[in-house]
């Protein structure tokens, strides 16, 4: 490197003088701690497609948006006319950052394409149909803009190829019996299947919802735990601060 002209640094100096490159896979949308275990990067990779299926699919899909909506991001639900906002709000989402396009009809492709430019997470309902060329265009645009799509129901039905599949394999309600009690809380097991780095199987147990209608981690002693009291969850505190902000506003 002695021949290098003055002013041009040697290659080994480059990391010090140039800002660290951020690879696409390191840009993630936040996910609450209870579900972060399902993601290799600890959050939803920007530009990725996630398929959510199983009994509690709608609940799980809205639980995935909690952190995004609370940290100032936008969420849009396309083709989910039956979505119950109150239940989702109890789960912890911030409803003021949600918008709904209930009946996109045959314009679904254009609608989702337009949304990728403006919102961070797009929920796509089970009845939404996309043409295959629309699907490809949308995926390209999502990568460019950093928006992610969560499909409630099979992603293949709307011509999108999922990067991550989340499936609710088991759901168990407590509190109700034959003729007495009422539905109080539901324990669900979520299974993750992915491609590439995410290809190893992961499972997570959560209360979706717990007695108060919230999302809650599940500890093996069959009791809902209060996360804010467990010491090893440091990042949880960020979430608490935000909650107090939400309450005050």
């Amino acid at each position: 490197m002695q021949n290098a002209p003055v002013g041009v640094p040697s290659l080994s100096d480059m990391p010090q003088i140039s800002p660290p490159a951020i690879l696409a896979q390191h840009r993630t949308l936040p996910v609450v701690d209870e579900l972060a275990g399902l993601f290799t990067d600890g959050g939803i990779r920007q530009g990725s497609t996630i398929e959510v299926t199983g009994v509690a699919a709608t609940s799980l899909a809205s639980a995935l948006t909690i952190a995004v909506s609370r940290f100032g991001g936008w969420v849009a639900a396309v083709g989910l006319p039956t979505f119950g906002p109150s239940a989702a709000s109890d789960l912890g989402i911030k409803l003021s950052r949600w918008a709904f396009v209930d009946h996109p009809g045959d314009q679904a492709g254009v609608v989702i394409h337009a949304l990728t430019a403006g919102v961070d997470l797009i929920l796509v309902g089970p009845d939404v149909k996309l043409r295959s060329d629309h699907g490809r265009k949308i995926v390209a645009r999502m990568r460019e803009r950093g928006a992610s799509v969560i499909t409630v129901g099979k992603a293949a039905l709307c011509n999108l190829r999922p990067d991550l599949r989340l499936r609710v394999t088991q759901a168990m309600w407590t509190g109700i019996e034959l003729g007495h009690g009422r539905l109080t809380s539901r324990k669900v097991e979520i299974e993750r299947l992915g491609r590439g780095a995410d290809s190893n199987l992961r499972r997570e147990l959560v209360w979706l919802p717990n007695k108060e209608g919230r999302l809650n981690a599940f500890d093996r002693k069959n009791k809902p735990v209060n996360l804010s009291q467990s010491p090893h969850r440091v990042s949880k505190r960020l979430f608490d601060i935000d909650e107090s902000v939400c309450r005050a506003s």
């Binding site: 979505f83 403006g118 309600w173 034959l178 007495h180």
Partner: protein, 517 residues
């Protein structure tokens, strides 16, 4: 200083006022001090002393208080008040303005000890529907010193004005120089051009400032319609013990108040635009003034107003005889804080503008009702609790309140217990619930069930075994109104495929209302 002297007033290195003699040298408002001095070497430069001008102005305010008690001071030399009451009393807007001019002139002539008030400080009055229009009417270059814009005629009055007036000092958009620059380059030269643009496109291109510009151009006081009632009036007061003769002590107390008030308002997402400052002495003398800010008061602004008011009072003819014993600040007008600051977690406002733009685009494709937002009210049935309202870019507030506080806080006996179902059918679907022998399950008027539910049959979900059920819970709403009354019994069913549903029976017919998906 007289008007034939060469002088300019400088604030923050920019010229804010010029004497007529200096204008002849080509000095204009807004240029730098150095440029002005280049044009005219023996120019006398006076630093802008807001405190002094407010103090001088306070004698005018005192005179005007005999016309109306609700005078709002914006800066030294500029004040406004609502005219509806006083103009009826004085016999019309013109007569009211005439009275205001007469009283101001008499004060000014006493102050300058002349019979003839010089032209450049002669009072100018504008009367109009909104504060922005009135300010323009008062300051515009016309022969008459009183200009009354007839009610409803604001848009026509404003149309010929150049877009530059949008960034005038009294405008809510006074910092949006970039926006006005773009307007000018797009060939939108007058306010009339802007008001002729369609709302949708204006929002899509410029976001909320664009819309505000249009509203200003049409003479709509958008800020007035956005007035928020503060949940509990924000006010701070404290006695000063022992009473003090020093203005600074009282100002120091007020500074702590101002910080607290701004913090409290910010927590509610509001900004203060009008504040009442009251000071009392131990002899019971009171000085009370309303202060207005065109954009928003910061704690420093509030403290400044308190200082100006106290200094003015102290040095006026009606100076108090006792020591200061009480300071009171009452916020009495606020606006939603529409993000003059960056969001808490980064650029939240840019984020919102992006989202608004794409929603507007979808509305253009599918119609105005296609994009909806949720509004939550109170009620016993899910359909009442959750309402979807069309997204309107025009009055969109990203930090809006989703839960209508009056109705969601109220107790609703008989409402659904949490957890709530997350899939709510827009149209309830018919279904059949039968017992082991295939007979329909019924509920009597007294809540008695003869048979136990065992099977669940529905067209959309198929036939399933019921492995858990709860109910009946009765809902008897509006029994006094034969058209709207609802009398039904609710059940929760847990089926053998792990799904659970909320169903109701009404007049012997079962309905599927929602699912806990």
């Amino acid at each position: 200083m007289t008007c034939d002297q060469l002088a300019v007033v400088v604030d923050n290195d920019r010229i804010v006022d010029i004497t007529p003699a200096a204008i002849e040298y080509g000095i204009t408002l807004g240029v730098r001090r150095r440029e002005a001095q280049k044009l005219c070497a023996d120019l006398q430069v006076v630093l802008n002393d807001e405190e002094l001008s407010v103090r001088r102005f306070s004698s005018v305010i005192e005179a005007l208080e005999s016309v109306t008690p609700r005078i709002e001071i914006t800066t030294g030399g500029r004040c406004s008040f609502p005219t509806r009451g006083p103009s009826r009393y004085f016999g019309g807007d013109q007569a009211l303005a005439q009275t205001v001019v007469e009283r101001t002139v008499s004060v000014l002539s006493a102050m300058f000890e002349t019979d003839e008030v010089p032209n450049h400080i002669y009072p100018k009055v504008g009367v109009a529907d909104s504060r922005f229009v009135a300010a323009l009417a008062a300051t515009s270059e016309t022969s008459s010193r009183i200009q009354v814009v007839v009610s409803g005629g604001s848009a026509a009055f404003l149309a010929p004005f150049p877009v530059d007036v949008l960034v005038a000092k009294e405008s809510p958009l006074s910092e949006a120089h970039d926006l006005v620059d773009v307007f000018r380059r797009l060939g939108l030269k007058t306010l009339g051009d802007i008001s002729s643009l369609p709302n949708q496109e204006l929002v899509a291109r410029f976001g909320s400032p664009g819309l505000l510009a249009k509203q200003l151009a049409q003479g709509i006081d958008s800020r007035a319609s956005l007035l928020h009632s503060i949940s509990n009036v924000v006010s701070e007061e404290s006695e000063i013990d022992p009473p003090t003769d020093h203005v600074e002590t009282a100002v120091f107390v007020a500074k702590a108040f101002a910080d607290r008030i701004c913090q409290q308002l910010a927590a509610e997402g509001l900004a203060c635009v009008r504040i009442l400052v009251e000071v009392e002495t131990e002899h019971g003398e009171i000085s009370s003034r309303l202060w207005r800010h065109e954009r928003r008061f910061t704690p420093i602004d509030i403290t400044d107003r308190v200082r100006w008011q106290l200094e003015g009072w102290w040095k006026s003819e009606m100076a108090p005889t006792g020591s200061l014993s009480l300071v009171r600040l009452v916020v009495n007008e606020t606006i939603p804080d529409s993000g003059c600051q960056l969001g808490f977690w980064g650029e939240k406002t840019a984020n919102d503008e992006r989202a608004i733009r794409s929603f507007t685009r979808i509305q253009g494709l599918l119609g105005p009702d296609s994009v909806t937002l949720v509004q939550r009210g109170g009620g016993r049935r899910l359909a009442n609790i959750e309402q979807k309202v069309p997204f309107v870019a025009a009055n969109f507030d990203p930090n809006r309140v989703v839960n209508l506080p009056e109705s969601t806080d109220a107790p609703w006996p008989g409402r659904l217990p949490v957890p709530l179902p997350i899939a709510v059918l827009t149209q309830a679907k018919k279904l059949e619930v039968v017992d082991d022998d295939g007979r329909l399950v019924r509920v009597s008027g007294r809540g008695h069930m003869e048979r136990n539910p065992a099977y669940f049959k529905s067209e959309c979900l198929g036939a399933h075994l019921i492995i858990g059920w709860g109910g009946p819970w009765f809902l008897d709403e509006r029994w006094w109104d034969s058209a709207k009354k609802i009398r039904q019994a609710r059940f929760q069913f847990l089926l053998d495929n792990d799904t659970s549903h909320l169903c109701v029976i009404e007049n012997g017919q079962w309905w599927l209302e929602a699912s806990y998906e």
